[in-house]
Symmetry: C2
Subunit: 235 residues, 2 copies
């Protein structure tokens, strides 16, 4: 059992943002796996991989990891997917599982990695460009300078309090999954006396409805919306 599972970060969508190590792993592995929530779902990560490396002749395998609210359904789906994956590894093939952005940033891959290692297989993860790092470069903004602090707050049910705290303590704040929370962000910035000009919205990069610009209330933002707030802007 010498085969290896590679967890391969393919970056934020721009094929130029693949690393040399990612390209090498995708090129050298006989099998490319991609995780989906439902059978037949399209994988953006697979398309990014394909745009940089020819996948011709490779075995392409979909692995369904259900997000069903029912625990038993999720576990059953996970068992099927892991059995399939480990079956390929047992046949002596190396596998590259492709993951959007960086594998350490809000990716469920690390659970899969742990489960595969628990079954006695070898794994290796390859870092990639997180979407917020790419977004900042596209907006021409530094994420942090000097001795500034930095944080990422994903918007969810109970995130308003966290963002409120961050707007008091942190120099640079990236608000992810901000699509439905633009009004909340604006009112929290106002409440904390952070001028709205300090915010830059990065939305649907490279997709329909791409927008890089100021935080404006009366505007529609795409599903993939991140807001970078530089509380102590020095540039």
């Amino acid at each position: 059992m010498k085969s290896m599972l590679y967890g391969v970060s393919v970056g934020p969508g721009d094929p130029g943002m693949l690393t040399l190590s990612a390209v090498e792993a995708i090129r050298d592995c006989e099998t490319i796996c991609y995780p989906v929530k439902k059978a037949g779902e399209k994988s953006t990560a697979l398309e990014i991989a394909r745009s940089a490396v020819s996948l011709e002749g490779k075995e392409i395998v979909e692995l369904v990891f259900s997000m069903d609210p029912e625990d038993s359904v999720r576990r059953a789906s996970e068992k099927v997917a892991l059995d399939k994956l480990c079956g390929i590894l047992d046949s002596g093939k190396d596998v590259a599982m492709v993951v959007l952005g960086d594998i350490g940033v809000y990716s469920t891959y690390m659970y899969i990695d742990q489960a595969v290692r628990d079954r006695g297989y070898r794994t290796k993860v390859i870092a990639g460009i997180p979407s917020f790092v790419y977004g900042a470069s596209k907006a021409g903004l530094p994420l942090m300078l000097g001795n500034e602090s930095f944080c990422v707050i994903p918007m969810a049910k109970d995130s308003a309090d966290r963002l409120d705290e961050a707007l008091k303590d942190m120099d640079n704040i990236v608000v992810m999954k901000a699509f439905k929370s633009i009004d909340t962000i604006i009112s929290l910035m106002k409440a904390n006396d952070v001028p709205l000009e300090r915010a830059t919205v990065i939305s649907n990069l490279g997709m329909d409805g791409e927008y890089i610009g100021p935080l404006v209330a009366d505007r529609e933002y795409g599903y993939f919306t991140t807001v970078i707030i530089k509380r102590c802007s020095r540039i």
Copy 2:
């Protein structure tokens, strides 16, 4: 004046962590610039670039940006460097300035970029893998999962309070420049009831004294030391 300054992130040191866009920019530019604090200083960024792309036949230019405490000395050094850089751009050559890690993470490049744009030139920045993203991948740790928050605190004179706040509010904390602050980190974790097992030290990756392991008080850590604290570990 159609030439372009590329700010090229070359990643954390591993040549495999260069992106395809970084390789392309280094390959296509006639001139490679690298910033140093003192004339004659070695540039790790340049060595990383050289390990991935042959620099033969290219013009390699050192640009000194002094870090002298005296404001006038820094400004004079900056003027000389910018004149030199803009002279090359005026001659119609594209320039790649190479920068360690990601260009948006504690890099002074963004000041240079702004100054060059203020002089009327075109610039483009290319994102890269930040050291903390690479460190997490090497340690096999996710930076954040689900809806967890994440922050980076660089240790400096007044950073203990910031770390104390982060240990109360944030799910995942990366402490950078931690070399001299191991004792402070340990005592703040204890004060906030965060078990020391939640911390992983990543020190001098790929260099002498490399260490990836638990946070232990009675141990020497290298100069390049980062601590990842997962307050709400779920893996």
